[in-house]
């Protein structure tokens, strides 16, 4: 039997494979081989797949992005981008073109019991530990971006917080892409043991170049632990971005995700979480599309056990010819009685050529649950405009204020001051500021 090779990327793999970390690990090699054969058979996802029907990634196949080589990258790093995005009040880890960069990372003062190390180092130093986590929150069957990442990942990060430890400062993972046609494939594993508490910020930025960043983050939230994850996607406007976040929540675990999708030519986020008994998750999202940006957000909340609570609010502002996609699935298993779930997606269209595709899905197999969802696609509320006018504000300013406010509601949910200000800046540079006075905010 012969299998048709669906992707040109597969042909490149033999030259790339020897450079990948974890060569000597039998389990990882097997995992990568399985992933490779899945990816080879399917290629990147196509519009025929239900969960990719609004997002055409065929340009990635045409481009043939290639992994960068370690050592070559350092001198090209833009100091300006780093100083703009690296947060001073966080432990920070910098990944450049898919490789950990120790010199630019700042981990001084990290509690000794906390592990934050590059994925390459972690695979070398504690492979057995990694075997317990890699591809456990997601597997290669999910879709071929996941398989692609499994086969291709060059590095990434391993974060481990022990039982009962509350990490005082957030951890920032700054993904920086610096080269045209480069591929950045990283795998990150975040583990919060029982009753631990951690906040992680994944920041994606790039220099003015066309590149592909294809990352997978697996998160394990222990019993009664609390993980907050922020994603600041500020890729270059020529870049392709896939970022998948897959979460396993134990009993009473809390997981909060804030997804800010600002950049990229074509950007797709997956956030999937599995909830155990009485665990809670909150998914917030803001996507701002201008020019010809295509921004796709895909969430899946899987209530597996009783008494889970989920809250989801995604808001999109789309201007010019931008297209925003929201696909939100909430699944309530037969066993997940007393689930309490709310999902909302609201879209603001600022131009006639902008498009929002929204598809909320509730799949409920239990009979004693409280689930709600709502979707809106539209323009600004006339009542609100009149209210502001009656408060002395002219119509144009009122419209700008309300557009800003629509987005700012999500920015205001950020509890980390420096990150809040970064997100605010991103909102302000994208939409008309006439009448929005930054000093008064």
């Amino acid at each position: 039997m012969t299998t048709a090779i669906a992707s040109r990327y597969t042909a490149e793999y033999p030259t790339i494979a020897p450079t990948l970390p974890g060569q000597n690990l039998v389990w990882l090699t097997a995992l990568r081989q399985e992933a490779l054969s899945k990816f080879s058979a399917l290629g990147f996802p196509s519009l025929r797949e239900e969960e990719w029907r609004y997002t055409n990634v065929s340009a990635i196949e045409k481009k043939l992005f290639a992994p960068s080589v370690i050592g070559k990258v350092q001198e090209t790093v833009s100091k300006e981008l780093l100083s703009k995005y690296q947060l001073a009040d966080a432990w920070s880890v910098v990944l450049i073109d898919g490789h950990f960069c120790a010199e630019l990372s700042a981990l001084e003062g990290l509690p000794e019991t906390v592990t934050i190390m590059s994925m390459a180092d972690a695979l070398a130093q504690q492979p057995d530990n990694l075997e317990r986590y890699i591809n456990q929150a997601v597997n290669n069957d999910e879709h071929s971006f996941v398989a692609f990442n499994t086969a291709w990942f060059t590095d990434g990060l391993f974060v481990h917080v022990p039982t009962k430890l509350i990490l005082e400062k957030p951890v920032q993972v700054l993904h920086l892409s610096t080269q045209n046609d480069a591929l950045a494939t990283t795998r990150t594993v975040i583990v919060a043991e029982d009753m631990a508490d951690i906040k992680v910020i994944e920041t994606f930025v790039g220099m003015d170049a066309a590149y592909l960043s294809a990352t997978v983050t697996e998160v394990f939230v222990g019993c009664n632990a609390d993980v907050t994850l922020y994603k600041m996607q500020c890729e270059s406007d020529k870049a392709y971005h896939f970022g998948g976040i897959y979460v396993k929540q134990a009993k009473d675990a809390r997981f909060t995700h804030h997804n800010f999708a600002f950049g990229g030519l074509l950007a797709r986020s997956d956030i999937h979480t599995d909830l155990d008994t009485a665990s809670e998750c909150e998914l917030n999202g803001l996507y701002l599309g201008i020019n010809r940006q295509h921004i796709d957000n895909h969430t899946r909340i899987n209530h597996l056990k009783p008494h889970g609570i989920s809250r989801e609010l995604y808001k999109g502002v789309l201007d010019d010819r931008a297209r925003g996609v929201f696909q939100g699935r909430v699944i309530v298993a037969e066993d997940a009685q007393k689930t309490d779930s709310q999902m909302n997606n609201r879209n603001l269209l600022l131009s006639n050529d902008a498009e929002a595709d929204t598809k909320p899905q509730l799949e409920i197999y239990a009979d004693d649950v409280k689930c709600a969802h709502g979707v809106t696609v539209g323009q600004l509320d006339e009542k609100s405009i009149f209210y502001l006018q009656s408060r002395c504000i002219d119509e144009e300013t009122a419209r700008n204020m309300l557009t800003f406010a629509f987005a700012n509601e999500m920015v205001d949910k950020i509890k980390i001051k420096s990150l809040h200000d970064q997100a605010l800046e991103q909102v302000l540079i994208r939409f008309p500021q006439e009448g929005v006075n930054k000093e008064w905010l």
Binding site: D381, E382, K383, S384, F386, Y387, L388, Q389, S390, R391, C392, I393, D394, E395, T397, M401, L402, F404, A405, F406, A407, N408, E409, D412, G435, N437, W440, L441
Partner: protein, 251 residues
């Protein structure tokens, strides 16, 4: 202050106001009462410039100027303030931001410089205390998650800070419990001034126990069918609206 002459207004080709005449002098408080559907809210909306109404006849003159010619924000900057029956929630904009934007719009309209940040804060905090509000309200999003009473108090707070000349209170008492009603009323009473007039649109007499009007007008079927002093409201409360509606029919 305000002169309404033979005002007729349509909504979707249906005549709602059928010739309103009203004179309001500086410092006066007028109550407009009437049953549901009498045109009370239409009158307050038309004065504040809400879209969706067609003026088919008559005039409204405010401080010598044609009010109907002005955009809503110009009316507001000229000193017309509408306290909404249902104040709008605006997540993403803080109360204090809106207050600053509004106040500075008025100052700009009158060719004055922006308000000094410290002076503004002092002013706002004074008024917050007056209305027995928590300072935290200032930093919360406009009306978001506020109770009915908090929303109405917030309207009066805006009024206290913007210092309008003509205040239109649209069903301010609706949804207020007795404590909130007292606080709101005290807020309004503290704003009474020789150069400031009030139009209170209300269904019930209750509010008038706390804010004593100089004149009471009863609106029915789009017309003012009876005018009198504060005692008219009590008589109405006793006899019901059918009394004036019937008396009109008898004319």
């Amino acid at each position: 202050m305000l002169s309404i002459k033979n005002l007729t207004v349509n909504v979707n080709d249906k005549q709602i106001l059928k010739g309103i005449n009203l004179e309001i002098k500086p410092g006066e408080i007028h109550a407009i009462m009437g049953p549901n559907g009498s045109g009370k809210s239409t009158l307050s909306h038309i004065l504040s410039g809400k879209a969706g109404y067609t003026v088919t006849g008559g005039s409204v003159t405010y401080q010598g100027k044609d009010l109907l010619e002005m955009a809503p924000e110009i009316r507001a900057r000229e000193g017309v303030f509408l306290a909404f029956q249902y104040p709008v929630e605006i997540p993403g904009v803080s109360n204090i931001y809106l207050l600053k934007a509004a106040l500075n719009s008025i100052r700009k309209h009158h060719s004055q410089p922006e308000v000094d940040a410290m002076d503004f804060l002092t002013l706002v905090k004074d008024k917050v205390r007056l209305l027995e509000m928590d300072e935290k309200f200032l930093y919360r999003a406009v009306n978001e998650g506020f109770s009915g009473g908090e929303k109405k108090r917030n309207e009066i707070l805006q009024m206290a800070i913007l210092e309008p000349k003509l205040c239109i209170l649209d069903e301010t008492d609706s949804g207020l419990d007795i404590d909130a009603l007292k606080i709101v009323s005290e807020g309004v009473n503290s704003l009474r001034a020789a150069d400031r007039s009030f139009v209170m649109v209300t269904h019930y007499q209750r509010l008038l126990d706390y804010i004593k009007p100089d004149f009471v007008h009863v609106l029915a079927h789009g017309q003012i069918v009876k005018s009198g002093g504060a005692e008219l409201a009590l008589e109405l409360e006793e006899k019901g609206y059918s009394w004036v509606e019937d008396s009109k029919a008898a004319i």
